[in-house]
């Protein structure tokens, strides 16, 4: 039986921790992913994702369902992430470079039919993409994670970030443009992706079984 988020929220409000546990199960991947891509390392991602869910849990009684639970969750998650970075910028203690994991413990892309060389190459490429992301401003990085990685709509982003659709549109546009320039500087990066993507089209894992 698949309960909607709203039902689970209501149950949590009535004191059912298992219901909240189910909500966590539904969204922990997304929130952890957001935090990881935003901060660039697992230690921070763990802390911030945990912080987010705790804040959500504590604030749940005040959640009236004006927006979808997921949107509200994103809003809190983005606030948690931005607060953390602001705190650090003030302290100037940790630079983004130091924060990045030396070995991004990434999962392979969903389509797993690659040769070992391709996997290694792909990982290197992914590491560089993350580096480019890290060079963006916090706002730009955040909005691109929400749009490209989490696949949120403009509207959802606007609600989560509490800004207008116009702002979302122009911020995404500027963020992409900056990202593109950074990637062009990385030179080969764009060319390599191009090649990998064509190869990927050729040997799709599923086509063998159809």
């Amino acid at each position: 039986m698949h309960l909607t988020d709203e039902v689970l929220v209501q149950k949590t409000k009535n004191g059912d921790l298992d219901a909240f546990d189910e909500l966590v199960r539904r969204y922990e991947g997304k929130i952890y992913g957001l935090a990881y891509r935003f901060m660039g390392n697992h230690a921070d991602a763990s802390d911030l994702a945990q912080d987010t869910f705790i804040r959500v849990y504590q604030a749940l009684t005040g959640f009236r369902g004006d927006a979808a639970f997921s949107t509200w969750l994103y809003r809190i998650a983005t606030n948690v992430c931005r607060d953390e970075l602001r705190k650090r910028h003030r302290r100037r203690s940790v630079s983004m470079d130091e924060m990045i994991d030396l070995s991004p413990a990434n999962m392979p892309a969903a389509d797993g039919s690659y040769s070992p060389e391709e996997i290694v190459q792909r990982r290197e490429m992914q590491r560089q993409v993350q580096l480019c992301l890290n060079e963006l401003s916090d706002d730009h990085r955040l909005i691109l994670i929400m749009r490209e990685i989490q696949g949120l709509s403009y509207e959802e982003i606007a609600t989560a970030l509490q800004c207008s659709m116009g702002t979302v549109k122009s911020r995404i546009s500027r963020a992409r443009s900056t990202l593109k320039d950074r990637m062009s500087k990385q030179g080969e990066l764009l060319a390599v992706t191009e090649r990998l993507n064509t190869e990927r089209g050729k040997n799709n894992a599923m086509s063998r079984h159809l």
């Binding site: 921790l17 990434n106 392979p108 443009s177």
Partner: protein, 418 residues
Amino acid sequence: MQCRDICEMLSPYIDGMLESSQVVQVEEHIAGCASCRLEYEKLRAAVEMVRGLPEVLPPVEFHDNLRRKLQSLPKPSVAGRQTSLICRLAWGKWSKTLAVAAVLFLSVCITTLWYDTHNGLLPDVAQQYGSSQSVADRGEPGDDKAVVNEQAQETAREQNMLEVKPNELSNSSNKAAQETGQKVLSTPSVPTPEKQLALRGAGDAPAFVVGDSNLGSAAGGEKQMSGDYVQPEGQSTGGGESFFTMMAAPREDLQDTASQVENNDVQTNKGFSQDSDYTATLMLSPQTNTIADWSATAGRYGGFVEAEPQQTGGYWMLRIPTGSVDGFLVELTNLGQAEIQSNTRGVAVDLQQAEEQLNLLREQENALVAQQRNEQVVSETAVDGELAALRQQITLLERAVADLQMNITFAKINLYIK
């Protein structure tokens, strides 16, 4: 229309956020203007690259740690008044209606707590304020069970060790698989009572699995996936944990034992797709223990470092292509005194089943999408919900398949350095 205006529109164009008249403008322009076309292609490639980043999953202990923290917090309904104020502040909408005094009071409270606690984490404070007692109480009955399960788990491990001895490292040949299979089927050295214990443990496990995977058919895949993150002995469950921790960690091992028994006949028939795990303990002089060394070493065999030790006494998780594992392990033994355990299981059937299931789900998805297009108005939300649930299943299953394939291509090596 000028190039500059077109460039402004490229990003919303990629997202399909332009009006149809604008779409025509953009398309006509980039068809005729080489520099804008190049701009568009670069932008598109950049977007694709970020979209292609793999999903990053939380570590296996994340959920349980969070659950434990949450249990130690007051229930939101009890703490309702205070927390809903915080929430409203965060939400912003009603902040104007808050009394200034309340704001001041809260901020003073929060600031004090913030600096009091180590990391600014409010829950720690809540923990100190007595509510953690209930967890301690609840923890006790759980402990007994944990002991039983740990015994079962150990037995399971013993069996694994018997199954593949360290020197039987070749893992991709049929012959090796057959030997492995026979060894388990006719192991006289495993005393019966132990075997029963292990099996009983395994028999208990599905109850847990069913409990947490209401995704039905995706369960098999999910199991496989999470099995991957199981931590080695001594890291997974500390004492005094709530029952949730127990569910997560040992379950996988038990399940593995169960499927191992099941898979053995399969393995003898088609032992070509195998999932190989190694746990190696290496006695080494400390100065050589740097990341550069291990990623370079793994790199020489075409592999990579999947995760570094997260704490002292932790382990390196390395991935080495299955074909080069033997060479790598030989190198390990040359570096110092190495103790290596291996665990190989056939996953061809798992993989095939997962892929078939995935294809089935994808067909369903396509059918739903088609249905959605045809009858747009009628009960759109119902279809949306169904589609969302289906896509969630597909994602899970895709991950599981990718994981299986990853495990077949790359052997996983958990390396402890002493």
